[in-house]
């Protein structure tokens, strides 16, 4: 892996963001951002608070509309697509504040994740067709496996909002995994997690990579990022200031300045 800023406009990328720009009023929140997510890689998007990381996520899933630039997912332009369509193509995101479905149990939450893969309609469920019931049982079995994988099996029938915060965040990641995404976008999955839970999350992320799923992760927890990311993109004040391997980023002067402030701010 090379350390130079990787523009990733190559066609092999799962996701390529090109010259993305977005202003709120007079403030340019995202300025000419270009990066890519390679297949089977964990790419981390890091930066200080207010750098524009979540805005990039919201632009990707069209929760916000961009001013200019292009977002290609599996080679297709996402411009004008609904959030549902984007999810249907296999780009699944999580939210910064764990958005589990409060009126549903943990297992039901995970099972909802399989929605985009469902082959049998409400009509065949109404008629209790064997095919629909088998599908339902397969989804249940997979959901149970998933909960087992992250150690939440004992919370299976607990209402999602009664889980501790860390468990809720893991639950959201697992729910997204149920959708068998081609690209999994995680918005600060480690926020609110304790050390053990963070460790579990790191293991989960590595397991996800071995499944062949590309991951884009926005994260503050540096040890987690340095631990699991293959590629790190650093964003500050809406612009990319560095990108490369974790090792290269850790020694990058600009990155250190962005986090710790410049020496002799007045002089420079």
């Amino acid at each position: 892996m090379n350390a130079q800023p990787d523009m990733s406009v190559d066609t092999g990328a799962v996701l390529s963001v090109r010259n993305l720009t977005k202003s709120f009023g007079g403030l340019r929140a995202i300025n000419d951002v270009t990066f890519g997510v390679a297949p089977r890689h964990v790419t981390a998007l890091i930066g200080p608070n207010g750098a524009g990381k979540t805005t990039v996520f919201n632009l990707m899933t069209n929760l916000l509309s961009k001013d200019s630039g292009q977002i290609l997912f599996l080679g297709r332009d996402l411009a004008g697509m609904s959030a549902v369509k984007i999810a249907d193509m296999g780009l699944i995101r999580t939210f910064q504040s764990a958005r589990v479905f409060p009126s549903m149990t943990a297992i039901e939450n995970v099972m909802v994740g399989a929605h985009r893969l469902a082959r049998h309609s409400g009509v065949s469920q109404t008629l209790w067709l064997p095919a629909a019931r088998h599908e339902e049982q397969r989804v249940l079995a997979r959901a149970e496996e998933m909960l087992e994988l992250v150690g939440l099996a004992r919370f299976k029938d607990t209402h999602a909002t009664e889980l501790p915060m860390g468990a809720q965040k893991l639950l959201e990641v697992v729910r997204a995994l149920m959708a068998q995404p081609k690209l999994l976008c995680l918005d600060e999955p480690a926020a609110g997690l304790n050390d053990t839970e963070t460790q579990e999350l790191a293991n989960l992320l590595r397991a996800i990579r071995t499944l062949g799923i590309a991951v884009l992760i926005v994260e503050h927890n540096m040890s987690l990022v340095m631990n699991v990311a293959d590629q790190v993109v650093v964003i500050d004040s809406g612009a990319i200031i560095a990108s490369g391997t974790p090792a290269a980023i850790q020694t990058n002067r600009q990155v250190i300045e962005a986090y710790l402030g410049r020496e002799n701010d007045a002089a420079s």
């Binding site: 959030a83 549902v84 999810a87 939210f95 958005r99 409060p102 009126s103 409400g122 149970e144």
Partner: protein
């Protein structure tokens, strides 16, 4: 020209009443984020008490009227303190709205018990002689109405904008959590806003009483007109409330004068629908942030579920009991009660899919019963179409109407959705009363043939009982298949968090539409069966009162369970049938039960039954259930 001027003055009088009620809506909404539908009810209670004191007891009006207002505010504050305030802390805004719908029903029921169903006319404060300005005659009461509204507006504005109390009220509106951290007593402010709204409604009620005829259920017209005014003007804005009220008053009076009084409600609702489509936040935008984007669901929205090992035996027992009912019950009246409960259960299952699963409140569900019932009744009377075909025709017409309505409702959530459906229900009401040639008007559609399939006629309550039972079982099985699978999960996900659901690829529009169409089909079917069973259909059998009763049945029974509505339907249908002298208390009871369920039985009767069943089963079945649990997990693996 003179006539126009005269009409406009009339419009301003009516409009100021709408404005006053709208002001109350706006006030409560700004402080609590919830809509208080009970206000129109308080207006009527105040007017009725004023009539009793002033006319029946002969008190001088200047004592009777203020006493009536004070008494109403007393009633309102007490009700508010025990229902609205504690409920707000627990319920989502849409549920809080249904709670106030329950309060409205309760107040209407109270008025029915005390004052009966006959209309009352209050004498004007200063006599019948109008003031004459040249060629224009203005009734003296008009000055009272406009004056009282004006005083309310100015006082309220001074209170909110200038006083310390007003600052507290505004803080509650913008962020109740932060307000309570700053030492503001949020429940007290909530109660205060509720009381102030009641006061405004009471003043509006007593001053408008002499210009209109009053009945126990006139209150809901005040409520809906006030809300339409508030929605047109912008629900969070005081100037909006006044502009909306006056505009609505002028529009309805002009329509009544130049087109027909039949269409004055229709015009009001049409204006509302247009505003909701074009400018959902109203004509006047307020600076107060809307809280519509927050999650609708509060964390307490749990649904009781029977464990699988108990569900089957219990279901078998209930079904066996149901099959034996006609052999045990010899009284045809009570058996008819069972049939009606079964027919309403059809609507309730659909309503549960819509409300309990998809979280879409509907306060106008009986409107679709009406469309289905009148269509199939009319077709079978006038064209002798077979009942089965007529039922399908009714469903077709209902679905067509539902598609048109969904153009509006799909854009709306929570409060606005609930009120758009209420408006739809009222629109259907005015059509069933108004289109005499088709519906038979207020006296109803007579001579509907009994239900039959091919040449087999189901004319007795006992035969109909089994028809309805079969329909209930078939539809329940089908819906439970869908609700416990992916379809039901998708609806529940949408109910909890639309954005997160969409991010998982759930097409929220399509699913909400599907839930709506299911509920409309079932309501229409049930309306048709209802008409065939009674051989008769009248507007109040399928009117807005019925819609509110259906919501009460669902909540009392337990929403999100499919089966829960049955217990609500049985309770509210059989009790009045068995204890005929108590029938007059039915409206009051259904409102009171709805409110009480929201407060004390959030999972409904069904939830209570489930909990009892689980507790009873636990000691003896502890080992058995463990076995079944391992069995099920073995099967799924």
């Amino acid at each position: 020209m003179l006539e126009l001027l005269q009409i406009c003055i009339g419009g301003l009088v009516v409009g100021s009443i709408y404005a006053a009620i709208a002001l109350g809506f706006s006030l409560v909404y700004r402080v609590t984020g919830a809509i208080n539908l009970s206000q129109g009810g308080f207006a009527i209670v105040a007017a009725m008490i004023g009539y009793s004191l002033g006319v029946s007891w002969g008190w001088p009006l200047w004592v009777a009227i203020p006493s009536a207002v004070a008494a109403t505010v007393g009633i309102g504050m007490t009700l508010g303190a025990f229902t609205f305030v504690p409920a707000l802390e627990r319920l989502s805004n849409a549920n809080a709205l249904m709670l106030t719908a329950g309060l409205l029903t309760m107040i209407e029921g109270f008025a029915l018990v005390v004052w009966g169903s006959q209309p009352y006319a209050m004498p004007p404060f200063f006599g019948e002689a109008p003031l004459v300005f040249g060629p224009i005659r203005v009734p003296t009461q008009a000055f009272w109405v406009i004056g009282a509204t004006g005083v309310c507006v100015v006082t309220l504005w001074l209170l909110i904008a200038k006083s310390r109390l007003g600052k507290g009220l505004r803080a509650c509106a913008e962020n109740p959590a932060a307000a309570s951290l700053m030492g503001i007593d949020v429940p007290r402010m909530t109660l205060l806003s509720f009381g102030l709204a009641t006061l405004i409604a009471a003043i509006a009620g007593v001053t408008v009483a002499p210009t209109t005829s009053l009945q126990f259920d006139t209150g809901r017209l005040f409520t809906i007109s006030g809300f339409v005014a508030a929605a047109i003007g912008g629900i969070a804005s005081f100037p909006g409330a006044i502009i909306g009220g006056l505009f609505l008053g002028l529009a309805t009076q002009l329509t009544t004068a130049y087109i027909s009084s039949l269409f004055s409600t229709a015009i009001a609702l049409l204006i509302l629908l247009v505003v909701l489509i074009l400018r959902p936040s109203g004509l006047v935008q307020a600076g107060v942030g809307k809280r519509q984007d927050t999650r609708d669901e509060k964390a307490t929205g749990h649904v009781a579920r029977l464990p699988a090992n108990l569900a089957l035996p219990l279901a078998a027992a209930v079904l066996a009991a149901a099959a034996l009912v006609p052999f045990v019950v010899s009284d045809n009246g009570i058996l008819s009660g069972f049939v009606i409960a079964g027919i309403l259960f059809l609507t309730l299952m659909g309503l549960d899919v819509l409300m309990g699963y998809a979280g879409q409140v509907s306060l106008g569900q009986a409107g679709f019963m009406a469309i289905g019932g009148y269509t199939s009744g009319y077709l079978s009377i006038n064209y002798e179409i077979a009942p089965l075909l007529a039922i399908f025709a009714g469903i077709g017409v209902s679905l067509a109407c539902a598609l048109v309505l969904s153009v509006v409702t799909l854009r709306l959530r929570g409060l606005y959705l609930a009120l758009a459906t209420l408006a739809f229900g009222l629109l259907v009401d005015s059509c069933t009363v108004g289109f005499l040639d088709i519906t038979g008007g207020p006296s109803g559609l007579v001579g509907i043939p009994p239900f039959s399939v091919a040449s087999v006629e189901f004319a007795t309550p006992r035969s109909m009982y089994y028809v309805v039972l079969a329909l209930d079982v078939i539809i329940f099985l089908g819906l439970s298949g869908a609700m416990r699978s992916g379809f039901g999960r998708a609806l529940k996900a949408i109910r909890s968090d639309q954005m997160a659901a969409a991010a998982l690829g759930i097409n929220t529009v399509r699913y909400k539409l599907a839930a709506f169409m299911i509920s409309v089909t079932l309501a229409s079917l049930s309306g048709s069966i209802y008409a065939f069973f009674f051989n008769f259909l009248s507007p109040e059998m399928v009117g807005t009162g019925r819609s509110l009763e259906l919501v009460a049945m669902l909540i009392v029974g337990g929403e999100g369970t499919l089966v829960g509505g049955l217990s609500g339907a049985l309770l509210l249908t059989l009790l009045p049938t068995m204890f005929q002298p108590l029938a007059i208390y039915k409206t009051f009871a259904s409102g009171a039960l709805l409110v009480a369920s929201f407060l004390y039985l959030p999972q409904g009767l069904y939830g209570a039954v489930v909990q009892i069943a689980i507790r009873l089963a636990r000691p003896s079945r502890a080992t058995a259930s463990k076995e079944t649990a391992s069995e099920t997990s073995a099967r799924t693996l």
